[in-house]
Symmetry: C3
Subunit: 467 residues, 3 copies
């Protein structure tokens, strides 16, 4: 059972205020402007196959914890790159998950799962070794019902808009299918050109080829590369996109001359890229993306500081996004200097910056967002999308940047079912944060109600131009 006061401070004064604020926002529609749900899910609208396929296999938040405690990914049915066999009995996978469910106590994954079980499936018992298969069967049965089809859940979850994340060369065929289906759900793409911008990506030339096919012209120069990106941004916009997204290791920004950009591009085509080339090109392309955003109005997101595929054994065997990405210390003040000086005073740009390095909240990010008109702070990301993580974010950012230089909440999830759980948790934590301000007489209830609505709904809608 879910306690109605869960996640609020135990102090009665704070709890009462938090509950009142939460009651005012809990039923607002969900806006999900950044995430990794596969659009095929909503294009096909087919029943989810089974609980393991739905909850465990796509969610690296879950299996990274199991892996850390010595459970092999093969035993959890995670598909291998070379097709070598993995567990196919999904009831066995579920049983392992249930036996180790206690590992998630005190983690956001534990909180989200509890919400999914109770609110989506009506399962109120705590999962354990003994009840594992009985709960599996109950969920399995529900998944067959029409009200558990993806679109039905989308509507039940009260999602006003959902953005996926898509490669520059993606055909967006699933997005077209959703539009052509006559279904009213707003599902939009987001332009993420990392694979063609990162010259060190092993598949760079393949991705460039895909991009060329998508635009229908040859990309044999930096100039045509830029033209192709501009072309694709228009195409994404036509299918509803309002934003772009850029993952970089270091958020270094620096403008190259056209001549230097062209020279690096040509070296890359000839497979002669140096490390410095790649770093300079990424830094330059962030500048170019900001320029394009000023021109075409797409909101620009930067997600820096993840050492991708840190565990090479897991990467080689299972591929990307398998729980082996690890954050790095990240610097913003010097790195974003060029971009913010060139475009940060321009009211046409919205730049939303994320971090995995919490030490930058009060030191760099809040001071930057509290000054440059173009810059907004993204919500606590990934490992920090949690009860304590969200609380630290607000406590460290608000005093310098206020709440109006932040961009509301993102769920950033691959786990479709966890969307309402994540937004509910966010709304509870923001309510509790504001309640603590009210209880200490830092703000009054009039302020708190206005801020509460902004944090739950208005800021994200405005920042991502989803009005």
């Amino acid at each position: 059972m879910l306690n109605e006061y869960r996640f609020f401070d135990p102090d009665p004064a704070v709890r009462r205020i938090a509950y009142e604020l939460y009651a005012g926002v809990k039923d607002l529609p969900i806006i999900s402007p950044h995430g990794h749900v596969d659009p095929k899910l909503l294009a096909d609208n087919m029943p989810f196959p089974d609980p393991a396929e739905l909850i465990i296999i796509p969610d690296h938040y879950i299996y990274r914890m199991l892996y850390s405690q010595g459970i092999r990914l093969e035993a959890l049915g995670i598909p291998t790159r070379d097709g070598s066999p993995v567990e196919t009995d999904h009831r066995k996978i579920w049983q392992i998950f249930a036996e180790h469910f206690y590992l998630f106590a005190g983690t956001p994954t534990g909180a989200w799962l509890a919400h999914e079980f109770v609110e989506v499936f009506g399962v109120t018992e705590k999962l354990n070794s003994a009840n594992a298969l009985q709960i599996y069967d109950r969920i399995q049965k529900k998944l067959a019902a029409p009200e558990f089809l993806p679109r039905a859940l989308f509507e039940r979850f009260n999602i006003e808009a959902l953005s996926t994340t898509d490669a520059a060369g993606d055909s967006l065929i699933q997005h077209k299918k959703i539009r052509e289906a006559g279904w009213k759900g707003r599902v939009i793409p987001c332009f993420r050109p990392d694979a063609v911008v990162n010259l060190e990506d092993e598949k760079w030339r393949d991705s460039l080829q895909e991009l060329a096919q998508a635009v229908g012209f040859e990309i044999n120069s930096y100039r045509s590369f830029i033209a192709a990106l501009e072309d694709r941004r228009e195409f994404f916009k036509a299918l509803g996109a309002t934003a772009t997204d850029h993952a970089v290791v270091i958020p270094y920004t620096h403008e190259l001359s056209q001549h230097d950009a062209e020279a690096i591009f040509q070296r890359a085509r000839q497979n002669k890229t140096s490390d410095d080339d790649a770093a300079q090109f990424t830094a330059h392309m962030l500048m170019e993306m900001a320029r394009m955003s000023v021109e075409d109005g797409l909101v620009m997101q930067i997600h820096p500081g993840s050492f991708r595929n840190h565990n090479e054994f897991i990467f080689k065997k299972f591929g990307r996004d398998k729980g082996g990405d690890i954050p790095l210390q990240t610097e913003y003040t010097r790195n974003l200097h060029a971009l913010l000086n060139r475009y940060g005073n321009d009211p046409r740009l919205t730049l939303i910056v994320f971090t995995l390095d919490e030490s930058t909240y009060s030191r760099e990010l809040a001071p930057l967002a509290g000054h440059y008109p173009a810059m907004k702070l993204g919500p606590p990301w990934w490992f920090h999308d949690s009860i304590e993580g969200m609380t630290r974010f607000r406590e460290r950012v608000t005093e310098t940047a206020g709440i109006y230089n932040t961009a509301g909440f993102n769920d950033d999830t691959r786990a479709f079912l966890s969307i309402p759980a994540r937004h509910d948790l966010s709304r509870r934590i923001e309510s509790n944060y504001l309640a603590r301000l009210v209880a200490r007489h830092i703000i009054d209830m009039e302020d708190a109600r206005r801020m509460s609505r902004a944090l739950a709904y208005e800021l994200v809608k405005k920042a991502y131009k989803l009005g």
Copy 2:
């Protein structure tokens, strides 16, 4: 209206103790050993012109937030360097401020302004679009009265000592005027030679010229440069100074040979300074300043880690200190090694170190201050001079360094009216911090009362030798 329990924890036990501790210190005199009030204010003792001129135009804490939300500085009457026109109707400026007053909810600026309105002007309504001009007029009227003259406010604020911050070549004419006026207020200068120490400052040679004029001899060698600084320190001391202050990007300390210092100095005179020259010279001058402090007893402050004028557009148009300075990651353990090894064991030195990088509190600064007799920690600075910021400081520093290796509170303000608000907030937060220790039986009330008085008054007086 200001709640008398504001900023205290809502827990009744903590609140009761916090209030009791606060009651014991709230009326102690204010010591303000570091700040940026213009001494001319107290030398001339003329009425403040109007609310916008008093509250908005000199305070970058206020207009950086407005700027971040898209309001141009011209519209706020911030003077341009080239004299190009800005808004001169101060009622219009005030109206914009009032319309955006909600942005400050949850920020220390919001808390300080509330205190100023209520305690200084008796304005108890929350400023908004509708009441803006009526409140403007009420404040305007008060400003004309003799009890709102700067010296009258200084006395009403119960300021025991106020230090300004002054360039090495400053004539200190305003300080002389204050002394000659026969007024009993203690207003003292602080020696801040950054402009002549930083070889990369575009006006370095101008500043050096001013210094030469001030001392009355030519500065054509490193040797005469040092003699000039020593001369000026004596002059500042004669006008009451007890401290020096040094802003550096990186707090690197390193002693050069006389020969190398001279060579760098001569290259600088010939406008041939390299980046490395400037870094080495700054590092060396920190060593020299510590040496002089050992000799003349002036307390040495270091304020490192600010990337000044990050927003070049704002800097070019409006000049320094316009809200465009951004903190940098800062390292102390290696950087202060040379200085602390040379002078850190010397009881004649007091070195007060500040930071904009909170990650150094528990990692570097508390361990250093909890060991070296010469070193004390300055209070949470600038962006961290806030409710959560002060709480984090005490929670991260005290367990390693105790409270007696910290230097009490600084308001560090340009906004004269905010001085009592800032000290009151500090006293409330320190009281609350101590109350939480008492309520958890970590200290008893006898400890807490002694520590409370130290934090509010005694530590700062001792650290800055203002007894």
Copy 3:
């Protein structure tokens, strides 16, 4: 007097739950798998000489604070390297300590001392200038009694296992004596080969010579060096060791070829080590230590990031471990990459990583430990072994790594008497942390009781293979 609810949150709901959880674990045996108690103490089992010798002189937590406030170490009886005289009247030393006892208010040292005075000696008054010598005499009298002999205290403290820390070439003669005494106390060594691994250690060749004597063969090659280390690990295991420990400045890991390792080793023998040699060799030896741990099953600990002997004046006069070590910013994601890729997926390795840089908890360490099966996080270390420090650790680590990827508690102390105080404080803070989760309905009491027992006893026993 010690309040029974001390260190718990004042909120009545949290306090009630915390107390209930604490009651369930407070009497569990103490496991102390990492510390610096001198084994001679338990081998000889002689009475402690006097209160100053017992409490002040061996404890740099205590005298670093006194030193920071201007008290010379000579006055505290800290022995000098050159034998120059120091205070020998221990009653005078105690008097100085008592006069400055107020400095420890709000520090963990203060909390531990209060526990020692009350629980070990029955002294319930707060130490001060007036009662100093009377308390000295009461403690002195007790120390003469048989129930205050080291082994009697070991039993009274309910210590199940205690590990010392020992150099690679140590004869472990004290450990043998303890074993041969027929006493049932479990006291084990821990293999710490820093002195022979760190090529920059001024005594490296002496330490290598000691190692050669210990193994009984000449060490004239990298190959024989490795053989000697393997030999010693077996010897340590035979005397009960279950772990090794490695202090490095930077936790950089990198595997050299045998050829390169041999070349560096030979340069070191000829006193021709470069800085880069030393860094590469340390990085390589961490790889080798992990390989040996995989083979022989010894748990591997890394304690990085301390700038040892920062205060050279203190180091030269008084030697190592005198309170002059200062933490450094530390990077783990890139530095541990080689080691974790080579051995981090191997279930035979247990790697326990510590930090003095709290900014790495949520950014690097929790993500690494929440993924790699071999890696566990050591408890908050040294300056962070405190009420706020432990709380920050759990709040920043648990949401990503859970509690089962952490290694319980270490006291890491030289101060034998403080062992129960430190474990009691840890058990209280962990109970309080869990109580806050329960009170916010993040976990339930069933979870909390299981987690509480794990944190107090089971995790440390399992991680250090002390079952």
